[in-house]
């Protein structure tokens, strides 16, 4: 009897420790970038483009990378949504049954998920050469799309798969087609999960450096055209950390702080927005 109680305590302790680990990791990262980045934070960081080059420049800001990252990750997330949603609805509403097509699709997505982002970068670059594109916003969008497509699709798939069959039956029984059911019932019911999937994909995209290093390039200018290079925050951090000057290295932490803040804001705003649309969800 006593033994079982101790067992219970030990395992509970392990679980609490693991949970604390997650919080500690986040906290330590936040403290590091705050301590090292805050001294370099200036209003000009987010309102100006770099002066004297992104690599050596100690003046100006990283507006080019902030806007670049937002456009690139936002655009790629939007494009990916347009591919992911049909995949997921097809697998879970139209096919639904476990057939070779669903199994192969899920397996492919799992494999694609595991491919390192630098490989997507290299693949995107090859594709661009073939299409005659240079490092540009368009190239970056395509490569990032490859990167986040499996993440978004698989994350959405897992939530939509959980949809009770009876809910679909209820809609069919009223004479709804599969398309109407997918749009009016499934998408609504799964909205919180779909949103989470979109956010995970966005977060992964905006934080990735390797997929855009060859495909999007880098520039000191704010993005204006699909066919011009575009700057991104992770690459800005990478370049700033690579300089020999401590002042510029400090700016890297400030950039990291900005990147983290963007992800934070996007998460909170979208959570608040969807709360309004999820009050009807059946639990």
């Amino acid at each position: 009897m006593d033994l079982r109680k101790t067992e219970e305590k030990i395992f509970k302790g392990i679980m609490i420790c693991s949970t604390c680990c997650i919080l500690a990791i986040l906290l330590i990262i936040l403290i590091t970038i705050l301590v090292k980045g805050l001294p370099a934070m200036r209003w000009s960081m987010i309102t100006q483009v770099p002066k004297g080059g992104f690599y050596l420049g100690r003046e100006g800001g990283i507006l080019n990378a902030i806007l670049g990252s937002l456009v690139l990750a936002g655009g790629a997330t939007l494009m990916t949504c347009m591919i992911s949603l049909p995949i997921v609805l097809y697998l879970n509403v139209y096919v639904r049954k476990r057939t070779w097509i669903t199994q192969i699709t899920r397996f492919s997505l799992d494999v694609l998920w595991g491919i390192p982002s630098i490989v997507y970068g290299a693949f995107g670059f090859t594709l661009m050469l073939y299409l005659g594109l240079r490092a540009s916003l368009l190239g970056g969008l395509i490569a990032m799309c490859f990167l986040i497509l499996p993440i978004m699709s698989r994350a959405m798939d897992e939530v939509v798969k959980m949809m009770p069959a009876e809910l679909l039956e209820a809609s069919y029984a009223l004479g709804a087609t599969q398309f109407e059911t997918a749009l009016k019932v499934v998408a609504r019911q799964a909205l919180p999960g779909i949103l989470t999937a979109v956010l995970i994909a966005f977060g992964r995209g905006i934080g990735d450096a390797a997929s855009v290093i060859f495909t999007a390039g880098f520039t000191d200018h704010i993005p204006t055209s699909l066919f011009r290079p575009v700057a991104t925050l992770p690459l800005a951090i990478f370049f700033q950390l690579g300089t020999p000057f401590p002042e510029v290295q400090e700016r890297a932490y400030a950039s990291a702080l900005i990147l983290t803040a963007i992800i934070f804001i996007v998460c909170i705003v979208s959570r608040l927005l969807t709360r309004r649309f999820t009050r009807n969800v059946i639990r």
């Binding site: 009876e166 009223l174 004479g175 019932v185 009807n280």
Partner: protein, 253 residues
Amino acid sequence: MSFKPHIRVENLNVYYGKEQALKNITVNIPDRKITAIIGPSGCGKSTLLKSFNRLLDPVDHVRISGRVFVDQEDIYDSKVDVTRIRKKMGLLSQRPYPLPMSIYDNVAYGPRLHGIRNKKTLNEIVERNLKISSIWNEVKDRLNTPASRLSIGQQQRLCLARGLAVEPEIILGDEPTSALDPKSSQRIEQRFIELKSEYTIVLVTHILRQAKRLADYVLFMYLGELVEHGSAEEIFSNPKQEMTKEYIGGTFS
């Protein structure tokens, strides 16, 4: 008992993979009567019910042979429009599954799908069907709140209203009271008795007393076979098969 059949089942076989769930079922379901399908768990009651509005189609590895006629039309004919068949039948499942939308939209969902856009008409349809399902008084002041906030019993009546709103001819109930408290069950049963003058009602139930209270016609199934069918009087007072006798007498369940 002679009657006008509404649903005719001919040599229906259903397989889930290698397992045969329905074995050569042939039966007629009477028009504007309450038909109860009884039998122990896993005997194929629900499968038979779902075959009536082709809800078996999306199930894994299912194979169906034989024919089901609704109003003289073979619903498993490849040319048939499935949504039109399903529109003819309202379905109540074991647990109510309201759609993820407001109470009003739940009832208006079907009519809207079938092209009714006029606000006034929709209002009328919603009100009329909520009244028939005797839930109107409880929800009339909060039609725009989510259906998920209703109690289970209220949700089941809402689902009934939602099914009736598409003007079906047939109501299918798959143990529709099994998740409800006695009071709510009684209300649902009361609705069925009122509705049978206009609708053909088919109920799957494992509650014998419920079948006795409601049914005009009874199908007894066991292990995928239709053991016996006939008027409720016949089945309950004078069953022909030994197995039916035992089941009704409570020897096994």
